[in-house]
Symmetry: D2
Subunit: 350 residues, 4 copies
């Protein structure tokens, strides 16, 4: 493993990029080689806070600099394929904001590029590094919840409407990546309805239903129109249940509740017993997820390990969004999620 810091250029310092800059600066194993943006005003804002950083509007300059090991891209999704592709072709490792690309074809293209060159390509699914999300993942993996019957989730708040993409492209990657991570499999079928309430051409509310190979079903409510912010996910298993609420001071609550079937054969009728036990709010470490994500990226670059948020998972997220959008267009008709060609190779990650 290399011991020198990984030198990262951050491209795009609009809304999210400055968070990347701050965490890369705080992280011991990395150095910010450049901050790059087409907008000089955005660069100036960053420079005021961190005067020692090298800024540039010239992406080519960054690509051509041998002192740059990796590029972190936080630009609009429509530019991901071009910028990430150029970076990979220039031999740079890439961290790219979610979603990985605006289409599965483009995502696959990037994955192929990275594979050929032996470079890291990591979509920034930050929630995979969130302590409460990982706590729930651990419960599921350890069998604490039993079989996962269903998941129901609401990610709603007032604003911000995106001018060019639907609420499914904007908020969907969060829940679809979490589900993919928890369940270890992409959905098989999606059906969804939506409405463009404020701008008829831009869906700002969507109700998305998902079915998974293992039998789990899920509902995902996504909205830019809501009276108050909700980030509430319920996971109901055959043994226990969990509520994960990212707005709460107790983000994970484990319910020792369930239903048991007694003597199903006797007397020709079912007898059920309900169990309502203790509720536990485990301690959750107060760690900034983006710092853990940066650590995972830098380690992958330095050691060649596969990041938790790997490109295959990012591709599955894009395939899920595409299926949802097809269902929306077809008035809610269930649509099969395309199988990732990658999944045939048995490289599915958990």
């Amino acid at each position: 493993m290399r011991t020198e810091p990984v030198r990262v250029a951050v491209v795009g310092v609009g809304y999210w990029g400055p968070n990347l800059v701050r965490n890369l600066i705080e992280y011991e194993g990395a150095e910010v080689a450049y901050v790059c943006d087409r907008d000089p005003a955005a660069l100036a804002r960053v420079a005021r806070r961190y005067p020692s950083l090298r800024t540039t509007t010239a992406f080519d300059l960054v690509l051509g600099d041998d002192g740059v090991d990796a590029i972190a891209i936080a630009t609009p999704v429509s530019t991901h394929h071009r910028l990430a592709g150029d970076a990979l072709r220039a031999g740079k490792h890439v961290l790219v904001e979610k979603p990985l690309a605006p289409s599965a074809a483009e995502a696959l293209d990037l994955i192929e590029l990275a594979r050929q060159r032996g470079l890291v390509l990591m979509p920034g699914h930050t929630f995979l590094y969130s302590p409460p999300v990982n706590l729930v993942c651990d419960y599921i993996a350890a069998g604490e919840l039993g079989e996962i019957f269903f998941v129901s989730t609401s990610r709603v708040n007032l604003g911000l409407h995106q001018p060019d993409v639907s609420v499914v492209w904007d908020l969907g990657p969060h829940d679809f990546s979490i589900l993919r991570y928890w369940l270890g499999e992409p959905p098989t079928t999606v059906n969804a309805i939506s409405r463009g309430c404020v701008l008829p051409s831009v869906p700002d509310i969507a109700f998305v239903n998902l079915e998974f190979p293992s039998g789990t079903i899920a509902h995902v409510e996504l909205s830019w129109l809501a009276p108050s912010k909700l980030r509430r996910t319920t996971v109901v298993g055959s043994r226990k249940m969990v509520v994960y609420d990212d707005t709460s001071t107790e983000p994970v609550r484990l319910f020792d509740s369930g239903v048991a079937l007694r003597d199903p054969q006797s007397f020709g009728e079912y007898r059920l017993t309900y169990r309502t036990g203790a509720i536990v709010s485990p301690r959750v470490e107060p760690v900034e997820p983006l710092l853990v994500e940066v650590d995972d990226f830098v380690r992958s670059v330095a050691t060649g390990s596969t990041p938790r948020s790997d490109a295959d998972l990012g591709l599955d997220v894009v395939l899920t969004i595409e299926a949802a959008e097809r269902s929306l267009s077809a008035g809610g008709t269930p649509v099969e999620v395309e199988r990732s060609p990658r999944s045939l190779l048995g490289t599915r990650s958990r």
Copy 2:
């Protein structure tokens, strides 16, 4: 209007019937003529509390008694058509527990019977008499919320599984009747997925999406499996938003929040402004809905007025459930809700 009390026989005193008995006793304008049940033990339980009541296991005796004006039926849904039909044919007005009948055909049959004989046929959609539900209805009718963009509702708790019907038949009538009442129209299309988690043959979780003629969309989550009881409905309008939570000490909360479009034509791009204003929890009268329902039924019998929870609304609820069940069977495919033949007559109630 008649001034004598309306004499009502209550048929079925299992879970819900005793509530009917109690409210009919408390209500000045009614008298309980009989309490009837096939199970002598159920009758004995009622008699212990109200020793002066006349009890019988003989439904025919009740039907044949001219002293009985009306029959309130609180038996399993599979018996509704037969019992209500016999009662109407015997010239009795009928209050029958929701849903009105186990199929739209049977519901229509009962409606026709009642129409021919000029009798009241009222399904007991109790939520239509709940003060918070009516407060929200008033807001909608007064235009306080503006255009209704969408409704999202969760009705979930742990238990009780019904042995013979799905969660859609058990819990769906509540939300479908409320939506029908608030919006003044039945849905056009339904798609739904579900899972029989505990008993594979009995769906205990269902995610139901609905589309209405006016453009409103709705999501209804119904479940007998949940870590905690939720009764939460969000109504998002173009002017204001409402959260109705039946488990809260503040069951209705009105949010003066929304999005406005500014100068949509200028510069070829949309500019939105978000408004987050005051939240008001109006005072809600502490009235027992069932008492108001009994009042409405008795008045309809006495004066010939149409009850708020009328049979046409009850039929629309059954048609909605049937469409949801068809969509479940078809793997979530959107299904059109059959138009009620009644709706052609322009008798749609609000």
Copy 3:
């Protein structure tokens, strides 16, 4: 132990008495021998619900009936001494609503009467039979919370003003009995301020501070004037902390939080570490406390055992109220709680 049911006469069926009647009827080991009240209308209300009960306005008749083993008194506190005294002198066991008597002198008099005649005298401190209160008591007794540093409690709501007694006499018995039960000792010192907001002569808000022999301090806020109902008690121990909230679906919450002192001697300065661990909401049995209270009373009558809510505890509650009232009169000056003469005998109960 006797096997026949204990025959209890209930005296006073205004607000609380009907609850006693209902629970005595439900309880297998008891029989309601009489219902007695000066007000025929109150008797009529009970008779309508339970037509088989014997009712009377003549207390003497009840006292003279050898078929009556015990008398449960639910009349205004000003009558407790006379009615309970007469009952004891007539050889009847007595359950009397809290507070035991309107003065410590009268309470002592009743205790002496009961002792001489070998009869049960039990004040109805119902909270001592409440499952959450007992759960907290178990934690304390087991050392789970460590040393009890302090308790802070709010018992406030809007109404109901009592015409003749202060909020301290009305609501204080609840918290003072719970503290006495949990800590196993009465307070040594009380200081309190209050205000008669609505009626200047009747304090409707009081802030009461208490100090206990073991070092525990407590604050009790009592009010008939409050924007919303609060029943919140925090117990902070050296090892763990508890919040007991009687209005919550999770009435007991156990916090694994605390402060530890490290190397207090080193470097002449203190170093503290804060621990914030898991929070557990244990399952609480859904039992009606009054039924458990009735069971305890009947067992005490039948077997001669000492009830959990015994007269010594009831006397300590009255002594605490008296001290609080003296402090109120003295403008908040700390006042010593008189030691119960009973405490000299070493009969303190836990």
Copy 4:
């Protein structure tokens, strides 16, 4: 009014000082002339973030610089008198962190110094610039709540213990300044009990009762030991009630609830009616209070106006703390709050 920016030196950049630096930089009408601290490491931390700032360990240098108009002091309270006194004697306006001084005598001394030299002396009671606090103040001033019956407040959390001062000196200034601001008068009498739970010599829990000239009473609970953070203040008036909760997304809630006395003279008895009306959560502007405080200070320096958080209010806060500490030492005996000599001059501010 001067149009040049006010040049402010910030002295002390430990915990709070950096916030002052940040807000002074953001504020248009001010310039940070120096950042001064005895600890070079603290200066280095600030310099890393704001490399252009002039830093120094030499307070004398700052005092002697004519380019410095004002000094903002954020050092431990034990140093306030010396540093603020030196600054005033050097002709500088002074903003000093709360509490103004560690004793009323020292506070008075500073006030006299500032008066003689015509300089601004402003204690940094930041809560007086908090939007929810001001909203409640507006309700009170407008008579919306009617007569203020009582105030009950809890300011508790786990940590941080101060090594040298009690929880009353640490957290008390917040509530005492808010009460002084809302009620427009200091308390007349204080009684308080406390306990040093973790370190016997340092009270970490205190229950403080206050009585005000107008009849309002208040309870203030202050604690560094608590299962969860509470910042809850209830204000009960004769017309309406308010709950101010600084940890909530709805920090102010106005309850249209109360009690009315009907026909008090009739029939020799009181009849009360309880009113429970709507609850309103008004919109609260998302403004950083410290920025408004900086604005008030700079305006006072520039125009000679009296700041909202003026030195007389700061003196009353110190007098209240002193009274509370005397009561603690006297075992909870009520102690009169010394009247500020300033109050004789009729300069009481609201």
